[in-house]
Amino acid sequence: MSSLQVSRADGFGGAAWMALGLALMAGAWRMDRFEQMGGTLYTAPGLVPGLYGLLMLVLGAALAWRSRQAPPATAGTPARPPLLNRRVLLMLVLTLGYAAVAVGRLPFVPATAVFVALFCALYDDRKAGWRRWGGAALAGMLTALVVMLVFERVFLVRLP
């Protein structure tokens, strides 16, 4: 990401933080003040979130203002990698599929074994064919069994 992209991203970021600040202030204003129970301004549940909202608004504005003052991009500015690429997207699909969908709905050991095996096989570009899938399946089974044994049997921690 060039310095121009950074300043543009900071501009959007500043606007987002300002919006969050405003939302916090609005939410804080609408909170109960417990006046019927003798509550004052200093005991109001919305006092602190409201102050945070105000600070967020100020800091977001400062970030947005600074992004407008940033010098234009110069040739040779080192580029940052993009936020998302194929590897990250694939990882998001695999991890969300495992943690948000499979865990808690499927038995832990098979779900974990399949997740680890799929992950290893899809990212391992050094081997091909049955060696890649065989190794990945073994890694999946071993991981699932060892995690189950260590957490449930050794440390007595309940698994999902």
Partner: protein, 493 residues
């Protein structure tokens, strides 16, 4: 003095059983491996180990966590020296001279220097932990709501100022953490804030799932975005530290130990700042500053002594003020609370022995890193060769199980995922994670004490600026903010 020594001896005797020593050695090894693997940090390791040790007796669980913490900070030096990749952010300064020494065929000597520096740094920090904690604990008894409010604010602010490249983004990250801490029932009327009718949110966001997400899942996503470069490890000579390397650099060791401990005591700063500060001080004091960055033994010794001395230093404010000195110390504090220990000003009144127990745990951890530093180099080299595509899914499974284990709720897995993806995006745009964590940890303390102070003074703000300790911390905050704002404005022009 003698009471302290007696209490320390009592702690050593209590922990000196084969089971406990075995656990300490195992946990130190786990810590060293976590630290050595690039992408896995001490904070992440501690968060995962907290969930693993939930059902253990509190003293054993905390021993494991402290050994993991010390081991991880030390372990980072291995990949810094051998691969030029810091295993943890704390080891970034060690890359400069450690890798330069490795390229000269002196990787073994560099690892020996890292071992001796880390061991001596931890020992110096331990002396201060044992000696300074009772003093600071007694001073903290004089703190009221005003002082605690400023201290909590100072912790978040200083973490935002020093832990990233951009203080403005650091402050925003810290503020975001404070906002997260307001979710759920507030302390006075149990009024639900920002829970949107979700029963799971009414109890607030739990720290450990949030940490596992921000430091675990987010780091895994960052690590996987780029294809892993092939691991090329330089050949190494003997790793036994030379006595001359220690005796010749005693001034650097002492100075870095003091700086590291001092940086650790400052709320929210952490081991990476300790390493860089010690390195910079050693360079300034050196007669041959031109050698720094080209394989200077002085430089490597300073960085390694500084970051490990910071570990006991960071535990001092945890014990006396319930304010963590670094991000891993924040996890340690959360674990102490989970295990029924109440850190804070009353610790020297209610549970003084615990302070010396922590010192004894640090000693066991130091012995552990000394043993592994001298013996396990070849195994650690093999660990560094384990491919990324095998480590990442295993760590992710541990993140998922860890998030669930604290309360047995699937909701916490969702929290981990949300903080992981959020942390990945924020990190990409240059927002540091340490202030976010400090914000979540200190949010409750800050809010309670601000509201308590305002009720006590009936809305009068004068006591915030007139009580001596309160005024000193307020002045420190004002100077920090003014200095950074001036730098920002100058940079923008």
């Amino acid at each position: 003095m003698f009471d302290g020594l007696l209490a320390f001896g009592h702690s050593i005797a209590r922990f000196g059983t084969p089971t406990v020593i075995g656990l300490a050695l195992l946990a130190s090894l786990v810590g060293v491996i976590i630290g050595a693997l690039p992408g896995l940090t001490a904070t992440m390791g501690l968060a995962l180990m907290t969930t693993l040790t939930l059902k253990l007796p509190s003293d054993q669980a905390l021993l494991i966590l402290i050994c993991t913490y010390v081991g991880a900070i030390y372990g980072g030096s291995r990949s810094a020296i051998l691969l030029n990749i810091p295993g943890t952010p704390a080891s970034a300064a060690s890359c400069l001279d450690g890798y330069a020494l490795a390229r000269q065929g002196l990787a073994g000597r560099a690892m020996g220097i890292a071992t001796s520096g880390s061991v001596l740094g931890t020992l110096i920090g331990m002396v201060f932990l044992a000696g300074f904690t009772p003093v600071l604990g007694n001073l903290a008894l004089k703190f009221g709501a005003y002082e605690f409010f400023w201290l909590a604010l100072f912790g978040v602010l200083i973490a935002g100022t020093l832990t990233g490249d951009d203080p403005l983004k650091g402050w925003i990250a810290g503020l975001a953490g404070l906002v997260v801490a307001t979710i759920g029932q507030e302390p006075q009327y149990a009024y639900e804030r920002f829970s949107f009718g979700l029963r799971d949110l009414a109890g607030g966001i739990q720290l450990v799932p949030a940490l596992v997400g921000a430091f675990g899942f987010a780091e895994l996503l960052t690590a996987m975005r780029d294809r892993q470069a092939p691991v090329k490890i330089n050949p190494f000579d003997t790793v036994i530290p030379k006595l001359a390397d220690v005796t010749r650099h005693w001034r650097t060791i002492l100075r870095s130990g003091l700086i590291g401990t001092g940086v650790g005591i400052v709320p929210g700063v952490g081991e990476d700042v300790a390493a860089w500060s010690s390195y910079a001080a050693a360079k300034r004091a050196s007669k041959t500053p031109e050698e720094f960055g080209k394989g200077s033994i002085d430089g490597l010794m300073a960085a390694e002594t500084g970051d490990n001395a910071c570990v006991p230093g960071a535990v001092i404010p945890v014990l006396t003020l319930a304010i963590p000195g670094s991000a891993p110390a924040a996890v340690l504090m959360a674990a102490m609370i989970i295990h029924g220990v109440r850190p804070g000003p009353l610790i020297m009144v209610e549970n003084p022995q615990f302070v010396y127990d922590v010192v004894a745990m640090m000693l066991f951890a130091t012995i552990g890193i000394l043993i592994y530093g001298l013996t396990l180099t070849k195994l650690l080299v093999q660990v560094l060769r384990v491919p990324q595509h095998l480590i990442v899914p295993i760590i992710f499974v541990l993140c998922t199980v860890g998030a669930f284990a604290i309360s047995g709720r699937l909701f916490d897995i969702g929290v981990m995922l949300a903080f992981g993806i959020g942390g990945f995006v924020l990190r990409h745009f240059g927002y540091p994670m340490a202030p976010l964590v400090l914000g979540i940890v200190l949010g409750d303390l800050l809010e309670k004490n601000l509201r308590r102070a305002l009720v006590l003074s009936d809305g009068d703000l004068t006591p915030f600026f007139t009580r001596p300790i309160s005024a000193s911390i307020a002045a420190l905050i004002a100077v920090t903010v003014a200095w950074k704002l001036w730098s920002l404005l100058r940079g923008a022009r």
